[in-house]
């Protein structure tokens, strides 16, 4: 039971919170605004906030230069693919850790996480050579597998913390009711963990979408996602702030919008069991 609060206090909170929030989001808002400016106005001094000549020319130019859609499709396929693949492998693992914990479970989890600490640049050449050997270079499947492996520890950890909150009773009840392991996971655990799985999926789509080391180094054309798209823009030639902004906006918009719409689910799952 929290205490009732006066309207004045609420107004002050509102003002403060909005200021902070706008400050934090400002770089993004500013980029989006800039993407609608004509180039000269994009670098005008003093900066123009809203009173500029709105245009979508920058987007058209960017699209002309690069077929956005192909990169977009690759991003979608790779991020969703790697997440789903990860889920299929992680759910049984998380089930085991959460419901049949052993003395080593915690260590195992920490070991899994520690695989993420391996510096990617250090193992680039080995992975690259392996990819050549296996013919995985610039394939969606290769990238999907790599991103899955990168994010697998996080997926497992998130699911583990989620599963742990599910009372073991219910799984036992299912067992009493005649469910085998497969039915138990399929009909009882997974549907019950839907909110947790959803937030796991969301977080991992975001991580995969934004992964920009492997995606750039292991792809050329066929599997190149939006990180590669933006890599081609990273040095604007001359007065191209607006175009750069447009390209940036195009690269981040899909995930930003997805994130905004799903932030509740995302937040719920993000706590890694940190909140009891």
């Amino acid at each position: 039971m929290s205490r009732a609060i006066t309207p004045q206090a609420k107004a002050i909170n509102t003002g403060l919170a909005w200021s902070v929030a706008l400050l934090i989001a400002f770089p993004i808002l500013w980029t989006v605004l800039t993407s609608f400016k004509p180039e000269p106005q994009a670098v005008a001094s003093p900066p123009i906030f809203l009173g500029f000549d709105w245009t979508i020319q920058n987007y058209i130019d960017v699209q002309d230069q690069r077929a956005y859609f192909r990169y977009f499709v690759n991003s979608v396929v790779i991020s969703i693919g790697s997440t789903l693949l990860g889920l299929i492998i992680a759910i049984p693992a998380a089930w085991s850790m959460a419901f049949v914990p052993g003395a080593r479970t915690k260590d195992l989890l920490m070991w899994m996480l520690s695989t993420k600490m391996m510096p990617a640049v250090g193992v680039l050449v080995p992975i690259y050579l392996i990819f050549i050997r296996l013919g995985l270079l610039d394939t969606r499947i290769g990238l999907t597998v790599v991103l899955m492996l990168i994010n697998l520890p996080i997926i497992i950890w998130m699911l583990y913390t989620y599963f742990k909150e599910i009372p073991a009773d219910i799984l036992e009840a299912a067992r009493m009711d005649g469910a085998g392991l497969r039915e138990e996971i399929l009909y009882v655990l997974t549907p019950m963990a839907v909110p947790g799985i959803a937030s796991t999926v969301l977080l991992n789509i975001i991580l995969a979408w934004n992964e920009s080391f492997w995606t750039i180094n292991l792809t050329t054309v066929n599997a190149a996602p939006l990180t590669a798209f933006i890599a081609g823009f990273s040095s604007p030639q001359g007065l191209f702030y607006a175009k750069l902004s447009a390209a940036s906006t195009m690269a981040i918009a899909p995930i930003l919008i997805m994130g905004w719409f799903s932030q509740k689910q995302l937040v719920r799952g993000l706590t890694f069991g940190a909140v009891k």
Binding site: P40, N217, V221, L239
Partner: protein, 414 residues
Amino acid sequence: ETTITVATVNNGDMIRMQGLMDDFYAKNPDIKVQWVTLEENALRQNVTTDIATGGGQYDVMTIGTYEVPIWGKQGWLVSLNDLPAEYDIDDILPAIRGGLTVDGNLLAAPFYGESSMVMYRTDLMEAAGLTMPEAPTWADIEKAAAAMTDKAKEQYGICLRGKPGWGENMAFLTAMSNSFGARWFDEKWVPQFDQPEWKATLDTYMNLMTNYGPPGASANGFNENLTLFQQGKCGMWIDATVAASFVTDPKTSTVADKVGFALAPDNGLGKRGNWLWAWSLAIPSSSQKQDAAKAFINWATNKDYLALVASKEGWANVPPGTRSSLYANPEYAKVPFAKMTIDSINAADPTAPTVKPVPYVGVQFVAIPEFQGLGTNVGQEFSAALAGQKSVDDALAAAQKLVTDEMTAAGYIQ
């Protein structure tokens, strides 16, 4: 139908080419082209890894005059000597062609070539009561820079590269050092940063930049300076000749009609401070589709392509600096910077870049594999000096040490 993958750098000419592909497809209906467009460093990183490990992802790579001799020696590139006769290899500018030929084999076809030159604001010079000589000395430059600087109005006498990198500040500084009689190595590959010529080079550079340069210059590369110049914030800018088409384009430049050009400065020692570079198209030996790749290179770098660009985008947008015939064309001669570009290119000699003799080729680089690392590390030191974090002497001493160590480790210095 054959699909080839072409890795290109994300500059304007290359992007423009992607927009003109209908012509290629009309002429080569059975070839499809996929583009990989990357920023310069990412491109270099990607294609080098690919070619060195035999990745075979690319059929055509955009590389520079730096890579060609090195890669050529490794046998990584396909000879282009058998391009059709109408391609007219002899039309390619000799300085450029020389840089792209190894053991008599042309290993890359130049897409565009560039040197560097002085771009300056005619209106500001006039206001200062000065005129820029066609072939200025560094003293002329300093005088002009001092006269045009008005920091209160955000007007800086001179903009030069400061961002660290072998292709960024070191391209400029190495070329500049040539005009001061400096060199990277003596004939025995001993580094020369402890010599007075380098000190003179850096002192001049620091003097110009700290007194007349824009703030934050240590992060400025080509693009940053271009933006500054287009905004009218620079009195002078010494950089690639290709910049001329941008600074004179009224669509992006606020000073389009107020730009004059001059040769890169000298110090009366017989070498000017300009460089030579050509973005060129090459075929890795690992490519399975060499015929299609050649067809593409032929299309992208022959005379017809220049005419095509001219017809679609005007003569000012034609990729410059590759063919003598272009400069013989009276239409092209009307382009304001055409003459200065060809003069600058002709003023550079990659095979004898310096006043004193050197064991290497390359004007603004040293064509050895180690140079990317060396150039970048030295560039970091010089950039730190420009940022005021180190003295010139310290930076030079550090450069001398690190280059000596590296060259010793690499076996050049016995």
